[in-house]
Amino acid sequence: MKLTLKIWRQDSAAAAGRFESYSLDGAGEEFTLLEALDKLNDTLVETGQVPVAFDSDCREGICGSCGVTVDGVPHGPVANTPSCRQHLRSFADGSTVTLEPFRSGAFPVVRDLAVDRSGLDRIIEGGGYVSIDAGTATDADAHQVSHETAEAALDFAACIGCGACVAACPNGSASLFTGAKLMHLTLLPTTRQERGQRATGMTAAMDEEFGPCSVIGECVEVCPAGIPLTAIAGLNREKLRSVLRGKTS
């Protein structure tokens, strides 16, 4: 099939960006979006041009590296699917597809379609961990966790840290990401001691770089891990709980 790709080109965070159009010939419907970019880049290199920079790694939807905005929608037209698992079969032959980086104030452009999402890690640094040192844990079989609890924790733990929720959010909020982490950890028995501190620390870190949530809900439409909006209610619950009970537990 043949596509026209309108791609955002920007040399560095400081440089001004612009759209440029490229035509891509001979791509198959079974190509992933990123394979289409691979093919385009191959041609660009061959014709002496500079290839399009974009992040990707696992190419199977688990590492969270990839992420481009396709026709205005983070990750692409198929809902809840990361860019590396979007296929060209979603586009009509001959159509024009616009590719932009993830857009958010907290995600400066590194180059072209690659952005800096380290803000998400700084949220985790705010408290998204369990303060148990190597070797000091007790026997994991000594406490029981119900099957449902383990599964529920996993539902929230499934977040791949791609940042699409932030890019989709008209408020630039990282609430879905943060809420997913809080809910994941809160459900597990070994993590309860620092529950309050975690909520306080993570929300403070989040507020430093990201926007507030107005429950707009566009984040859940793009989230490749299918994190539900409950995560955000959970975030608020944990924060409220820590305020009402005092900070630490």
């Binding site: 093919k39 290839p51 920079a53 199977e60 380290s118 985790i124 369990v130 148990i132 070797g135 099957h147």
Partner: protein, 664 residues
């Protein structure tokens, strides 16, 4: 993937491509068996808490091995600098592991034990691993589960609330802990959180989008010592040096040399390879595992091979039509005309035969013309029977996300039609050689996880490598590194303007600039694809002397073309992914040559290394313990010549036998 054998097949002999060096010692405790590790720990030197911050340790890689090592050392109070080329530590390829992680906790009454774990691992590796290491792996596996569970990995639980386990290939007990099909992700996320906790605490300095390009060896020290690394900031292009008292390489596996592999696009061998160029021995480079349950290739532009978890083999049944080139759709082929060849050939293990065995069996079927799918390059993995027996909800809970992934990639639903699978390049058993303490032959240079060679011999058992990465990172390096550091108390790190530092930085800069200025016409990916084709054809699931010789010839040609016709678009001072790839491909080409040399040299079949010249009557691997019961550890000589050292292997607890997955 046609194996075009050269006309002069015997052109190259091992003697043309390598010389033989001295034997080396693995430094394992003389006291073998279950007490070895405890005994070794008892004799390690310690660093007092007050002095720990005076030692700076560089950890390259934030996968399970690296993140764990950096976090654990940070928790103890060392000054740790962690590096990853990823934009976030969590993205290391450990995140992609699906099936599970083994542990010899032996809670069930299925007769598991530490000794059985060791036996399975040593046997699974076809007696090409160091047995003492495997004991440590078994022993520390218990703490690994406890720790990761405690720091947030939501392991699957039984309805009674206890940890759930399942079986994996090559064992007959149920010792694999898992979190749905996302075990690696959950462990990696937990480990990177632990790492970020130390970043917040100030003990670890994290350098993301920073790629190690060289190792700094201080030759003023008697015998040389690893004292730093040269790093390229991938965003700004700045090349700088980080010095420290010890360097840990936890940079993952090199299966991506095959281009179409289960590894990530950016997985590479560069860190290990550059250390190798600086003198570190490289062990068993040709021991590469092909995963039997990868998805078959579809298009030319397919960028990688997607892996379906081995756990699928717990319930799925593998078969091919009895009739070669059977044109019928899978569901139209009656039961009597299906050959469940693994169940037939290996009744005791059936569909859970170890990976090398299963991959080879699949290759046999495909080469005999019984392969299925449009390109006849795959076999069926069928869930019809378990679907009837267990029902859809149970299967959905066990494999739901894998089925979804399959449907997504191929357009077929595994609930309706059998999956198609094929062997794909996967796990590198080989890697930087290290002794029992995980230190390479360069003092101060340690290695952990898949970047090293430990534990897995010639074939890794499923779910043992998440374990090995964790055991290395959490429970081995944090003991053995302080042992190395203790005598260095009071020694300053190298100054940034020390001669060896400046030289390494200057050399790296020069080579990056040369690469960036490559004037040709083709991007690095083109060469990478070609390299992958050569490796699949000549150094793949099965190998022959003639094929390997041809492989070496083709790789040398490829290197020549690469040097002549590479184009690196863009500049050296800025974010330039072509430049990153070019450097990695250059190293892969060199590694590929050594893989072929190693495979040509090792004149036996063992584990994943299957030489067509060495098979038993029934097509099984013929190991040659009399001549090859050692680990090959390669030294790089001048101008790409190679010297093979050997570490002899001794087995105390598990006596070498021919692997038998048919009856026991």
């Amino acid at each position: 993937m046609t194996a075009s054998l050269p006309a002069d097949a015997s052109a190259l002999t091992p003697n043309d491509v390598r010389t033989i060096g001295d034997a080396i010692a693995g430094g394992q405790p003389t006291l073998g068996g279950p007490n070895a590790w405890a005994d070794r720990k008892l004799h390690y030197n310690l660093v007092s808490p007050l002095n720990r911050h005076k030692f700076r340790i560089i950890v390259v890689g934030t996968g399970l091995a690296g993140a764990a090592c950096a976090a654990a050392l940070g928790e103890q109070g060392y000054d740790v600098h962690a590096f990853t080329f990823h934009d976030s530590p969590r993205r290391a390829h450990s995140v992609a592991a699906q099936g599970g992680i083994n542990a010899a906790r032996a809670r069930k009454v299925d007769n598991d034990s530490l000794a059985r774990f060791v036996k399975d691992t040593v046997k699974g590796g076809d007696f090409r691993a160091r047995e003492a290491d495997c004991w440590r792996l078994a022993e520390e596996s218990v703490r690994v589960i406890d720790h990761l569970e405690a720091i947030g990995a939501p392991f699957a639980r039984e309805y009674g609330g206890q940890l759930a386990t399942r079986s994996f290939g090559g064992v007959q007990v149920s010792r694999t802990y898992y979190t749905r099909g996302q075990t690696g992700q959950q462990l990696e996320v937990a480990a990177s959180q632990a790492l970020l906790r130390q970043v917040a605490a100030g003990t670890v300095t994290l350098h993301t989008r920073s790629e190690m390009l060289d190792l700094i060896v201080d030759n003023e020290v008697e015998g040389g010592a690893a004292r730093g690394i040269v790093v390229r900031d991938l965003v700004t292009g700045r090349i700088w040096s980080q010095t420290g008292h010890a360097v840990v390489l936890a940079t993952g596996g090199y299966g991506n040399a095959f281009f179409k592999s289960t590894l990530a696009k950016n997985s590479n061998v560069s860190a290990a390879w550059r250390a190798h160029r600086r003198g570190a021995l490289f062990a068993s480079p040709s021991f590469l595992q092909f995963h039997p349950t990868a998805l078959p290739l579809g298009s030319d532009w397919q960028s990688k091979t997607i892996l379906m978890s081995e756990s699928l083999r717990n319930d799925g049944r593998i078969w091919v039509p009895v009739q070669p080139n059977d044109p019928r759709a899978a569901n139209d082929i009656p039961e009597a005309e299906r050959d469940y060849y693994l169940e037939r050939r290996y009744p005791a293990y059936g569909n859970l035969a170890p990976r090398d065995v299963a991959s080879r069996a699949a290759r046999d079927e495909i080469e005999a013309g019984r392969g299925v799918g449009p390109l006849h390059n795959s076999v069926y993995l069928d869930f019809r029977d378990p679907l009837a027996r267990l029902g859809r909800p149970v299967l959905a809970e066990r494999y739901g996300n894998l089925f979804e992934m399959y449907a997504d990639a191929t357009g077929d639903s595994p609930y309706a039609v059998p999956m198609r699978i094929a062997p794909g390049a996967h796990f590198a058993m080989g890697g930087l050689w290290s002794d029992y303490d995980l230190m390479t032959n360069i003092p101060g240079l340690f290695v952990g996880g898949e970047a090293g060679w430990a534990y897995h011999g010639a074939n890794r058992l499923g779910a043992n490598s998440l374990l090995s990465a964790n055991v290395d990172g959490w429970f081995t390096l944090p003991y053995s590194i302080p042992n190395y550091l203790a005598p260095l108390l009071g020694t300053p790190v190298l100054a940034d303007d020390a001669e060896s530092v400046l030289r390494a930085v200057a050399e790296t800069r020069a080579s990056v600039e040369t690469l960036a200025a490559s004037p040709g016409t083709q991007g690095p990916d083109r060469f990478h694809r070609r390299l992958g084709e050569i490796l699949y054809a000549h150094c793949g699931v099965s190998r022959s002397a003639a094929g390997l010789a041809e492989g070496i010839r083709l790789i040398r040609n490829l290197r020549h073309d690469f040097q002549a016709d590479l184009r690196v678009a863009g500049d050296a001072d800025g974010f330039n992914q072509e430049l990153e790839r070019a450097g990695r491909v250059a190293d892969f080409i060199d590694l590929a040559e050594l893989m072929c040399i190693d495979a040509l040299d090792r004149d036996e079949s063992c584990g994943a290394h299957f030489r067509l010249e060495h098979q038993l009557g029934d097509g099984e691997a013929a190991r040659d313990d009399d001549n090859w019961s050692f680990v090959s550890a390669w030294e790089r000589g001048p101008e790409g010549t190679y010297l093979r050292h050997q570490e002899p292997l001794h087995f105390e607890s598990v006596q070498p036998e021919t692997r038998n997955y048919k009856t026991s």
